[in-house]
Amino acid sequence: MSESLVQLLASEGINLPTEVVERGIEAYMLHMDVGSVRIRTPSEEKRIAGVFRGNGPRGSERSLRVGFDRYLLELAASSRVRVIRSLVTRVGWHEDRPEIEHGGGRRASYDLVALAAGVNSQLLQNGCEAAPAYTFPGTLTSFISEFHLGQAAIQASLGDAMHIFLLDLPRLEFAALIPKGDYVTLCVLGHDVDETVVDALLAAPEVRRCFPGGKVPQMACHCFPRLNVRPPAQPYADRLVWIGDCGVARLYKDGIGSAYRMAKAAARTVAFHGVSAKDFEAHYLPTCRTMNWDNTLARLVFMSTTLIQKLRPLRRGVLRMTSTEQANREKFDHMSSVLWDVFTGSAPYRDVLVRSCHPGFIASLTWNLVAGNAGALAGKRYGDGP
């Protein structure tokens, strides 16, 4: 959970209990072939929450204190939301209201149905019977696996930090190792991630080094979840609204945060305006558009991270610039803040882009490119060398 969402929730009076947060994260390590660098949180506090979704890793159900989803459901139930534990298998229309079918044939119709079924359920894959204008979002396959290492080993090898890998491997965008309680979560983002991509990544020395004894342990479980990378056509209709991943979502990072924002935008529309397609168009669509626009800018941002991935001299410059900034503890600027926000999803991509176009940023990067590569030729190492 991103820093910005943690802050947002806290200011709304929702403080995540320590049972829900598997680990507070205060920094991240950026690993590249040219070296690694630790980027601290701006205020040196634990502002990122490592949480488990659903039941947590396979086999952890008994030991999991409280999963994030369960916490949220209980929070909703405490606000007098009726939680029905049943699998929804169809969303149709009955007379003048949307109707859902669940639990093997039971039906119920409502004044409004908010669809938050994500992109990993089959429910909406082939569109929605009740709203022909809706199309399923464009998706990309990612990879997530869990390793059971135990708290002590995790503290020793990964610490209170997320580890980001920017490696020049085919089809890999980036990968991350996130410590959560007794487990470490591996997230791999890229283009049609499959076992080949994962294997190549797990074979990389930069990744192996992060595991105790340089050995990748057995996975407790893994899956290939889909990510929303292209918005659906018309995420609303009369009495229907799509939120979360099956609606408009932020590209790659801060999915929970973006789901929360979109859900609030939809709820505001319903509470203050109405449930017709017109109401959503007037009051929900603008928030969708803002998000979509920011995602367009995100593509530019990720194009530049791809460039960093591909070009070794650029990696040297980035590494030198970041480690120099990090050496100066009072300052958190330029490359540190840009990288922080890209990989933690704490700020809109627009902000990231604006900051990276700052003359100071460009000047500093230029200088570090020259100095870093000259230094490398002279055998000098920056950051925690390879």
Binding site: S11, T18, R23, P42, K46, D160, R261, A347
Partner: protein, 164 residues
């Protein structure tokens, strides 16, 4: 302070904010107890105690004034900061987000009004209807009177319960 903790951990006596400093964030107490101290010419006055869930320092989100009091940890405490920039941007996007803060601030104004009345009652001859106020101020004195005034005290039933 477990691995599942968010925010920054402060040891006993450590300052979180200092009166007169510039502020660019507000704080949410995650665990432990904090005291709010106002530095006056004739010494320090504790104006409030804060516990988990309480918010303070929110005034600097909305105005450019300096911090109005010092906040320090009483025993080990954990506090999460909320950036002014992040928060203000989100309020633009989602105005009801400010509602919680407005509620807290409104509650504080209500308490300040009560405190003001109490102070006035002490310094001027008692008005015929001031008996209730008298009793209340008396009780406050018995309990050290430390918890009333308005430095960023969040309305919390738990807080009130402890006070009574």
């Amino acid at each position: 302070m477990t691995e599942g903790a968010l925010g920054k951990t402060y040891s006993s006596g450590e300052l979180i904010v200092r009166q007169g400093d510039e502020g660019n964030c507000m704080y949410v107490v995650q665990a432990g107890e904090l005291e709010v101290v106002r530095e006056e010419h004739d010494g320090n006055v504790r104006v409030a105690l804060m516990n988990a869930g309480d918010i303070f320092g929110e005034m600097s989100i909305f105005e450019r004034e300096l911090r109005s009091a010092t906040v320090r940890a009483l025993g080990e405490a954990r506090v999460l900061s909320v950036d002014k920039k992040t928060f203000l941007r989100r309020i633009q996007e989602d105005p009801p987000l400010a509602f919680n803060l407005v509620k807290i601030m409104s509650h504080r104004i209500r308490r300040l009004t009560e405190d003001l009345a109490t102070l006035k009652a002490k310094t001027s001859p008692p008005a015929p209807r001031a008996n209730g106020q008298e009793r209340r101020s008396g009780r406050d004195r018995r309990h050290g009177g430390g918890r009333r005034s308005g430095v960023d005290r969040r309305a919390s039933a738990a807080g009130r319960g402890r006070n009574a």
